[in-house]
Amino acid sequence: MLSTAQNKTIAAGEKLTFSASYNMSGLLNELAQVTMETSEVKTSKSTLLKLKCTAATYSKWDSFFKIRDLYESYVSPKTLTPYLYNRDIDEGGYKKFMKYKFNHKSRTVSSLKRKKRRDGTDWEEKKTVKIGTSTRDLVTTLYHIRNLDIHKANVGDSQNFTVLFDNVESVVTIKYLSKETINTALGRKECYKLAISINNSDVLKGNNANLLWLTADQNKVPVYAKFKIAVGSGELKIKSATGLKY
């Protein structure tokens, strides 16, 4: 089973910074800074790994469309099994908060959704969602992809992951396309080229148009990503990476 796979890649204290651009009629506009950070979190009984992703628009966009998104997940440092997931988004004034508490024994997630009404008051929705054995949240899935044994996979292999998003489980397929050497801010890197698709969803468009490049070393750093959505396409480029394990 996948969820018990050992974590060999992700260490605490790692910080990756990306720049997200949106492609408008052939011209790339740098939109936002995306970071992926890991840190250690201690409770009285155990030590957990905190995976945090944030997105913040660059200052020139703030008066037009300000984004301050926070996605985080508290996982077991050994197996990357998620226990708690928070999503707090603010996208141009649209605010939403989601919290999942994973109970792996009963295979349920208690979710809490908090939204702001137009008049400024909050409303909450609590729900218990049944999940499968290997269902993860979005953040954990992103990190889990880096923990896969891609060096053992053959070109053309694919694997499915179940991701819980907005209280709905969706199946995400990752396909190993090829090895490619690309230029990045970290230098010229040999990378694994992966295609991502979401089954039964039309968020991501095109066939093999949503791509992810992970460095073909032990760190498997995501260095470049391309995505295609209904209103255009964009890309994510790495700017810096610190605190890597190897």
Partner: protein, 109 residues
Amino acid sequence: MKKLFIVLGFITAILALILAVTPLSKIAYIPSIAALIFGVLALVTSKDKHSGKKSIQLIFLMTIIALILTTYKAIFNTVEVGNTEQLEQKEEQLEQESIDELEGLEIDE
């Protein structure tokens, strides 16, 4: 014919100017180039007549301002993240909340 080019030139030049002042300034290159082409076409079609060069000059003027502004922005504006204080506060608060929450959860390592 000349009138059509002048009208099109005006529309694209104004569009270029508007885009140039927004954060989307890079896109202003497209209407700028269109405005220049329409301006030149208007000049060519009005060669023999002596009337109304002013509006064509205005098109060129606006386009050049738009181009200068866009180029200036592209060269000198560095991309940086704005104020993230609120986000950082939220992060801290959430971490505190989450630790409390995690204390109550059963975690088997």
